[in-house]
Symmetry: D2
Subunit: 325 residues, 4 copies
């Protein structure tokens, strides 16, 4: 309804804060650490109240903000991958030879939706080596397999169905699902990574029937990793309007009639006008910067390398490079 739509728990919490004008949101714990140009924010939703406030299921959401990736500094990129690996390992517990299945969600034909398939392309897949040529296994490796199943319109099957079929045969101990996200702010596109131990919740697809991809549906622990690649046009419109109204209020002298008017208008009055105006023109329109192809290529590599480092303990980035074609 009020509906700035975002897939980032970090932003959802921020919006809840703006709405309630409160510093603290019950049931939501946030901690944030900045180091080496990477800001790690850990949002824990630990009660149904928190779940309701920010509209995300109970669980842990870790965000890496990495604005520095625009400088293409290889050292920085390595730090991001290593930090990501560390955060993944804080959220999962794996025995030494547990099998991991990486799932690349999304549509490879639509650039901003192709994050999952792009990451899967760089995953260091090893399960077949364990199966067929076990003597070539490096002892630091773990059996890892990967698939990008495609989207409903391409396969005619729910992605959750396909994944469940594969999980039932391959019996992994952990699933990591990688996906593209929507954020509130365009500057987050390609510069923020979110890890969630809640997996992926059922979306609002055709007929509202889409399966989630999580512990509940798959029967194994499921981590979701995503990066924003789009912003709803509605969000751009709404944020613009709010900024202008705020600016007008700030600029007007205290006793000015505009001031009075703006403060007398209930939040809801303005909201309903905004919603009426924007849902006509920009309804579900999702926008993305035109250079999104370039923006996300690097961060997809970093995510893949973070996953590679997290699952194959002790392998170096150089060895990963050598392994991959």
């Amino acid at each position: 309804m009020s509906s700035i739509r975002t897939d980032l728990a970090l932003e959802a919490r921020e919006i809840a804060g703006e709405r309630t004008r409160q510093q603290e949101i019950q049931g939501v714990v946030v901690e944030s650490i900045a180091r080496d140009g990477i800001t790690v924010t850990r949002v824990e939703v630990n009660s149904p109240a928190g779940e309701k406030s920010i509209g995300k299921p109970m669980g842990n959401y870790v965000t890496l903000e990495i604005p520095g990736i625009r400088d293409r500094d290889p050292e920085y990129e390595e730090k991001v991958s290593m930090q990501l690996a560390e955060e993944i390992n804080r959220l999962v517990e794996l025995d030494e030879k547990d099998t991991v299945l990486i799932v690349g969600l999304g549509n490879w034909n639509v650039t901003p939706d192709a994050v999952g398939p792009k990451v899967v392309e760089r995953i260091m897949v090893t399960r077949h080596i364990f199966e067929f040529v076990p003597d070539q296994v490096d002892e630091r490796m773990r059996p890892v397999c990967a698939i990008s199943p495609g989207v409903l319109g391409i396969t005619g099957m729910e992605t959750g169905e396909i994944i469940k079929g594969v999980v039932e045969r391959v019996k992994p101990d952990l699933v990591i699902a990688v996906d593209a996200l929507a954020s509130r702010k365009t500057e987050r596109i390609g510069t923020t990574i979110q890890i969630a131990d809640t997996g992926i919740s059922p979306g609002a697809g055709i007929g509202n029937k889409r399966m989630g991809i999580n512990m509940e549906t798959l029967g194994v622990p499921t981590l979701a990793i995503g990066i924003p690649t789009v912003v709803y046009a509605y969000t751009i419109g709404k944020d613009s309007i709010e900024m202008v109204l705020k600016k007008l209020a700030e600029g007007a002298p205290r006793e000015d009639s505009l001031q009075k008017v703006l403060s007398s208008l209930g939040e809801q009055d303005i909201d309903s006008v905004i919603n009426e105006v924007l849902t006509q023109g920009l309804g579900d329109l999702v926008v993305t910067p035109k250079e999104v192809d370039v923006l996300i290529d690097d961060v997809c590599s970093m995510i893949a390398d973070g996953i590679n480092l997290a699952v194959h303990k002790g392998i170096t980035l150089e060895e990963i490079n050598r392994f991959l074609h």
Copy 2:
């Protein structure tokens, strides 16, 4: 400055109309015909006054609005190509065996900028047949050549320079330059085609030095054909704000204080606030629907076919299909 940016003369005229609140703009003649689901609008800028009002050089700008392409009806698509061919031929005069050079502008690595290269891929290129195997020339053909030179950041050379070099050696009698455009409205993306006999004006690139691609710089008549693939985020923001302010004013009772405030605010006051707010956050950000890949593929084929029909008189669409790989 106030700056809703658009490359469409049609929209530029509309904006000038809104600004001046006048039906007629001096020096700009508009006529519009709708038939078979295609709206053809011919904007003629015929005086320096018109040029100044809408910010486009004197000349002819023809727009085909083709919202029906979303239905993917092959018959409709053929009509669009044939109408486009007709409009091209209204703007140029060619002798029977005059050579035409098609130039695909833009960056093939950035989807919404790849219109030019995509169109060139489907051009029925024949000049080498005339040169090397003249006995295989179908008499309805004309010598046509084509190139997608790439953008400044890829080549290190101004596109105009490359084109001029090629023009000087190949000596075509007409250049048709195809490019991606920015529009004001997201719904125009992939659904509007503009043809201009002014060629392409020097843009506001690095150091403001970029050459135009037109009669003046190339020395031969130059037609520009384009389709919108992006909207400036600024435009979305500004349009949203204006719609809301208008809505608020409409909704408030006549004597209401909000009414007074809004009407007392000069146009410029609001404009300056809007500009201040938006240029910070959304400055040069260009956005595009995430399905732009899919949206423009079809229209690029139609443009190519329109050009093919226009230059090779009497060739059918079926023959074009057979000719092309």
Copy 3:
């Protein structure tokens, strides 16, 4: 062992004929019809003796030879798709609303191995419409779903495993697996289509353990459709040598010593020399014409359309075009 390797039953039968110098091969029935530039050959392997002679499992193998596709005549292409649909329907029995799963085998990163994924891209997928928006179902449609799972080196999972997982959840009544094949002759590349009701036999992959994709492994009838995209370099070498030796023998006068030598050399002597020479240099090397990208694009469309026509009874090619993006 002597091993001209081919995936085409047609060629396997031919080679068996050359080896045994017999017109008839026991347990293999061949019939052939040519019409409209399409040669349909139906090879039935109906006994274990036949199976052994040509090295293909018992079942039906239908070949469409379509050399005419080089002319890119749309009418011819339609005929091929329609003939293919007819041959598919001769081999399978489906109830009206039976579900079909199309599987695109092979590696999309390696052009000559990308036939399966390319065909799947053009499949008219409808199962999700039946599930989620049943009122939009055209009554001539059948529920069709499709997937290109990738190859072992990409996923770490046997393709057969993935398919079996999907089959167990989605429970299709028929699987159609599309794959790239190896042929004996380069001129067959992109110009021959094989349909087999035996599915796909376990190959000679890593550790010789790869699962077949057929009735036995999946538990549902499985059709295999393929086109040759490669020839073993070994085959080119061996055929060249045999042609030369034959030519030398033909050319020499009857009583000539060369004649004697060549005829005195046992088939096996020559074979063992050829094998020794060729397996060193050209062992497993598979070659493909450099224009393979272009050669197979068209035939992949025709195969997809043939499948579309076969499964959605009464749909026209024009409707298929409109349905697909």
Copy 4:
């Protein structure tokens, strides 16, 4: 005439040696150095006699054989780039701020012909920085520009014509043309780099009229860099036959009739039979390993980096990586 076709001077010299059964070829000087897994061979054709013997114009041909690239060792790859840079600089003389134009020849739609365009994608293009933002120029840089003009069938213009047009406007001091080559041996594909200071000679294209791309046609020094991506099927056939005949001769006892026959057959008799047989079936067919996509990607990066290091003196590979998107 008998015509094992190869673009490598190294192999042309080898074939001339086989034909004449002589160690030395008049007018052709060869020296070879192996170090760090890289074999550098410098062939100098220094007289018309040499030119005639090996069928290559007078000039210098340097070959880097780099079989080790299959191991994907980053250190080795760096050494290759550095060695390539060194060899380029031995062949050209440039003043400090001389402009270099890199030309990527070939067709980006046909994988084995896409070497030139792929290399150009990774060139560190800087000429526009010198022109438009000179204060951002790193003093170690040189003005470099680049273009991949496409092939005759795509543009309708001879590549040489386009390049000449660009050269006349941009006035570079050196042209480096990158292209895909044909070799005699499949194992050279993607593992050999040739640099030639003769540029590229007119080929045997449509009507035999294609312009060369060299000092003579462009008016500036022109270096050609290439890697083999294809082998003529004819070559595979002929080499196979010769190996077998040799093997048969070796294997037969001295006094055997086969021995006599084979030695009594003139070289030409066999040649004419081979030619007759092979030109029918394999005439102009060019083959390439099916993994050519993967094979050449790495070597294209190394060539681009070698060129980058050669033209921008003192820049490191890490800085090149950072510069490129």
